[in-house]
């Protein structure tokens, strides 16, 4: 039932109109009548920019090879926040260690893809498009959005914004075929302003601009992109500023960009923006030198911000509606370099946080001695995690988004439809 309904809806959306039989209409009505959660399920994606060193985030403290490879920067067994008798979290991650103890953090180990690419930019593309094998213009989240939106439209669920990007530049992951994802990171400035001296003219100007944009056709390469972005900007500025008023944070967020961003996401979730995907990143992980301090600070910020976000959502009774995926474009080399740092490597852990997440450690940590070009071998393909989220969280057919089938991992409670 699930798949056939979705396929039916997508087919309808592609045709532009819905021509359904009476029986099909009844089936749809039954689906729409199912009780709705207070907010539709949302995914927050946090990319750790720069290539996060997985070995010093999820430390294989029981493996002597780890201490041999990293005489200068290894984290001692006594410092590690133990998850089980093999691995533990970086000592800066006490916030997420608490979330783990509550059973709401999943740690997937040795995640990667075949023929690891060690360029920041190329590997990032691979993660964002979901395609390690060749060039794809759209992102895995963008394609998921296309499916989610056609379904939402059919069920007449109003989402003010289908997804929100909080990074300065829209990542490739959110490039979709049909949807222009808005970027917002400074709400205070996100307002279409006009000359305050002539306030009466604002409505006239806005009306003129909207008319002009809606009818703007010119045979130049970027005009459609500009038109879509301009229209989305005006729509978003109009709605967003209103909806997030009246929110009160239910946790103390740490200072810094990620804390601010997650607080803003919580504001949007609580305000009923109903976006399905929120995207944000945290930089500072390209730790070629002095890694202990540098990575430690970033992991603390990550851990504190995500733990606060988790707590805040719980205070608003929305913690069952949001999961958070945390990954980086690659891990780092096993051995430390000559600068108390590490160079670009391959496989690394991926984290998933949320009340709906089945907490635990998934898979074994990668062998530190059986290596691939000096780097950790992957055991879990990153697309297995994508597939699990697409299926269990969003109720989508992973094959339609990823182009292939992948063995799923039971990271999430079963989707209820």
């Amino acid at each position: 039932m699930k798949i056939s309904r979705r396929k039916l809806l997508i087919k309808g959306a592609q045709a532009g109109t819905f021509c359904l039989s009476a029986g099909e209409l009844l089936k749809l009505a039954a689906c729409a009548a199912e009780p709705q959660a207070t907010a539709p399920r949302a995914l927050v994606v946090i990319w750790l920019n720069g290539g996060n060193d997985g070995l010093n985030m999820v430390v294989p403290y029981a493996d002597s090879a780890y201490y041999t490879a990293r005489p200068g920067i290894a984290i001692k067994p006594g410092e590690v926040l133990k998850l089980n008798d093999k691995v533990g979290l970086n000592p800066a991650m006490s916030g997420l260690a608490r979330v783990y103890a509550d059973g709401h953090l999943a740690v997937c180990q040795a995640v990667g893809y075949p023929r690891a690419n060690r360029s920041h930019f190329h590997s990032r593309d691979i993660w964002e498009t979901g395609s390690p094998d060749g060039f794809v213009a759209s992102g895995w989240l963008g394609r998921a959005l296309d499916h989610l939106e056609s379904e939402a439209r059919a069920r007449q669920i109003v989402s003010i914004l289908p997804a929100v990007n909080l990074d300065p530049v829209l990542p490739k992951s959110l490039v979709s075929h049909h949807i222009a994802v808005p970027t917002v990171n400074n709400l205070a400035d996100f307002d279409f302003r006009t000359d305050p001296k002539f306030a009466g003219d604002r409505k006239t100007q806005l009306a003129a601009l909207n008319d002009i944009y809606q009818n703007f056709a010119l045979g130049r390469p970027h005009v459609e992109l500009l038109r879509d972005a301009g229209l989305a900007a005006n729509k978003a500025s109009d709605k967003l500023t209103k909806i997030v008023q009246g929110y009160k944070a239910g946790a103390n967020y740490p200072g810094g960009g990620l804390g601010d961003a997650l607080r803003f996401i919580s504001q949007m979730v609580c305000g009923g923006v109903n976006a399905r995907i929120y995207n944000v990143s945290l930089g500072g992980f390209d730790t070629h030198i002095n890694q202990r301090a540098g990575q430690g600070n970033q992991l603390r910020q990550l851990s504190d911000a995500v733990a606060a976000f988790h707590q805040d959502l719980a205070a608003h009774h929305l913690d069952r509606s949001v999961i958070t995926l945390i990954y980086s474009e690659f891990g780092r080399r096993v051995g430390e370099n000559g600068s108390q740092g590490t160079d670009h490597g391959a496989a690394a852990p991926v984290l998933l946080v949320g009340k709906a997440v089945s907490g635990g450690v998934y898979g074994d940590h990668a062998s530190l001695t059986s290596l691939d070009e000096g780097d950790l071998k992957y055991a879990i393909d990153y697309r297995q995690i994508y597939a699990s989220i697409l299926d269990k969280w969003f109720g989508l057919d992973p094959h339609e988004v990823l182009g292939k089938n992948f063995e799923e991992i039971n990271l999430l409670e079963k989707h209820r439809t």
Partner: protein
Amino acid sequence: MRHVYSHGETGSIRRIDARNVQLLPRKDAFWIAQLLRRAGFGASPAELDRYQKLGYKATLDELLHPERIDNSALESLLAREKFDFGNPYAIKKWWMYRMLHTANPLEEKMTLFWHGHFATSLQKVGDPKVMLEQNKLLRRLALGNFETLLLGVSKDPAMIIYLDNQENQKGRPNENYAREVMELFSIGIGHYTEVDIKEAARAFTGWHTNQKRSAFVFDDKQHDDGEKKVLGQRGNLNGDDVVHILARSPDTGRYLAKKLIRYFAYDDPDGDFIERVATQYQVNGYQIRPMLHAIFSDPSFFTNRAYHAKIKSPPELVIGAIKTLGIRNADIDLPGVIASMGQNIFEPPSVKGWDGGKAWISTESMIERFNFATKISSQKFEELKPFMSPTQLASRQGLKTSHDAVNYFLDILVDGDVPDYTRARLVKYMETDLDGKATRGVKNEQVLDAKLRGLVHLIMSLPTYQLA
């Protein structure tokens, strides 16, 4: 034949751009304006006038030879500002003033190109003076020999700090610089192996800065003088050798050609255009200037494929507006405005610099662009005095009707390149009162001023205004 683009009759333009047969005016003035939007940051009416008297070829020649131009007015203007270069904001403002007031726009445009190419961030480097020195290096060698530039950058203290070569030592190599010099600065991804990177890292060992981190030093005790093999060449290679190998590779010529064409002409150049420009690199001893000449005189630069085909970068948008509208009291926070639109100079987002092109556009950057237009056009925004007086401009031009005003401002701001509907809708906007009611009669001065300001705001918010 006088004009570089008139080698053929209209038919040849059609042949070049078979996908789109729309013909564009074959007038010097039209293409000179485009040249200045690309090779510079737009132009004021007076500058346009001067360049148009020179003609296209002489204008291009002038732009390509900054060493022949007297730029002392800029230097004395900068000297009067008494910048404190220990302050990060000062170096940003200094550079924005250069972009705005220079007599050598292409030199600044290329400096900005190299800043994105050899991206280095103040955030990690820390000392603004070191960043300023790098900026001067990029400007000095902006149009010259690429091997000299690549070597200069490899020994530049800001770069050494930014990509951790300071830590790259014999027996303890750090691969950061070796990877990026291949992937991003020269031959490009796909033309080297992981082994090449490891070996090149060894060649750059001991390339450090002095204690004050203000000058390059070669620390021979920290240099690995064993045998290495990089891109097929074997020997006791050092950093100079690696730079030499990389700069002379035809892959570098093609990589730079593609990037320069995308920066100056259009986003998706075909292989032939890239080859034409890359050839210039090889036959002229790795010089940048002939590549630029090739781009700005290539037949495809004078077609629909290039015209209004690039999204303006934040400095192009902001400085262009100031020049076009003759804004004098430009006491605008220029570095802050362009940063809000996505280009925080001296602080690129990563070692890859700014992606540019489509990446300049998001809902947020559009709002910032709209609001910059508001700021520029308003009678009173946050500042005490307005930045411009459209009423003055209009009366100087003798504009009598709403049509006149719409046509004039469309002409100077977007070359008049809009759909008919836009033009009509702007006239309709002009023919309303401040309460939105239609009015055909004479407006009082204040209403006219408000509507003209609104008109400038709307035109600067059009999709076409975002295009160079």
